[in-house]
């Protein structure tokens, strides 16, 4: 069980740092198909920001804002987004995960972006979920 940290320096720094870490994580996910990065990397950074908050402010306070129930939903939602995009391609008449047929601008890039968002959501939720489970186990 991780309790609230006593040092005010750690609490202030992590409070200021967390939004920037999350913004950077979203950038890594969104630019996955044009520059280095992607769903796995961005998801890990996003999950690490929540773990940073949990270490600084205690796991109970983070659990109040980001409950385990929501995390479990996110874990399965990411995989669902991935499979759904693949299935949409399938329904429109191409192979499974053959993004070329999607009715959007730059269909292949957008398809990759979509599945990377799915992967990012899953990785983030899995990181935080495993951290919660391990740190609250007695």
């Amino acid at each position: 069980m991780i309790d609230k940290h006593e040092s005010i320096i750690i609490k202030t720094i992590s409070r200021i740092l967390a939004p920037f870490v999350q913004l950077y994580a979203l950038y890594v996910i969104m630019h996955g198909h044009t520059s280095p990065g992607g769903g796995f990397q961005g998801g890990v950074i996003l999950g690490a920001s929540f773990i940073l908050l949990a270490i600084a402010f205690g796991i109970d306070e983070v659990k109040e804002r980001f409950a385990e129930r929501i995390l479990t939903t996110f874990t399965s939602m990411g995989v669902f987004i991935y499979g759904f995009i693949g299935f949409v391609c399938f329904v429109l008449g191409a192979n499974f995960l053959d993004y070329g047929i999607l009715p959007v601008v730059e269909p292949r890039g957008m398809g990759m972006l979509g599945i990377e968002i799915g992967v990012g959501i899953t990785v983030m939720a899995v990181m935080v979920s495993i951290f919660y489970d391990l740190s609250t186990y007695e």
């Binding site: 996955g32 399965s76 995989v79 990377e116 992967v119 495993i130």
Partner: protein, 94 residues
């Protein structure tokens, strides 16, 4: 008995090093790895997928099935952690 293990470890290590010496040189353009599919990915990625990042194109487009499996593996890891470690509220009260 301990010395026997040391000798066994050394022999295995030497065998592995001997095996490595047979591999192609680092960055060798004539090695099998850079002759088969790599040139095709490098030449055709931009044309076929309209995406400048080759790594992501291979990961998410050419091998989309594989990445789908990876995501499912991570999902399974979280679910098994949840099943083993998380306490249900009913058990907490007892």
């Amino acid at each position: 008995m301990r010395i026997f293990y040391y000798i066994l470890t050394c022999i295995t290590g030497l065998l592995l090093i001997y095996g490595v010496s047979d591999m192609p040189k680092w960055g060798d353009p004539h090695s099998p790895a850079s002759l088969h599919v790599s040139p095709r990915y490098i030449e055709k990625t931009l044309e076929e997928t309209e995406v400048p990042n080759m790594v992501t194109a291979v990961l998410a487009d050419y091998r989309g099935f594989d990445t789908f499996g990876e995501t499912t593996v991570i999902f399974t890891a979280a679910v098994s952690c949840l099943l083993i470690l998380r306490k249900r509220k009913k058990e907490k009260d007892v």
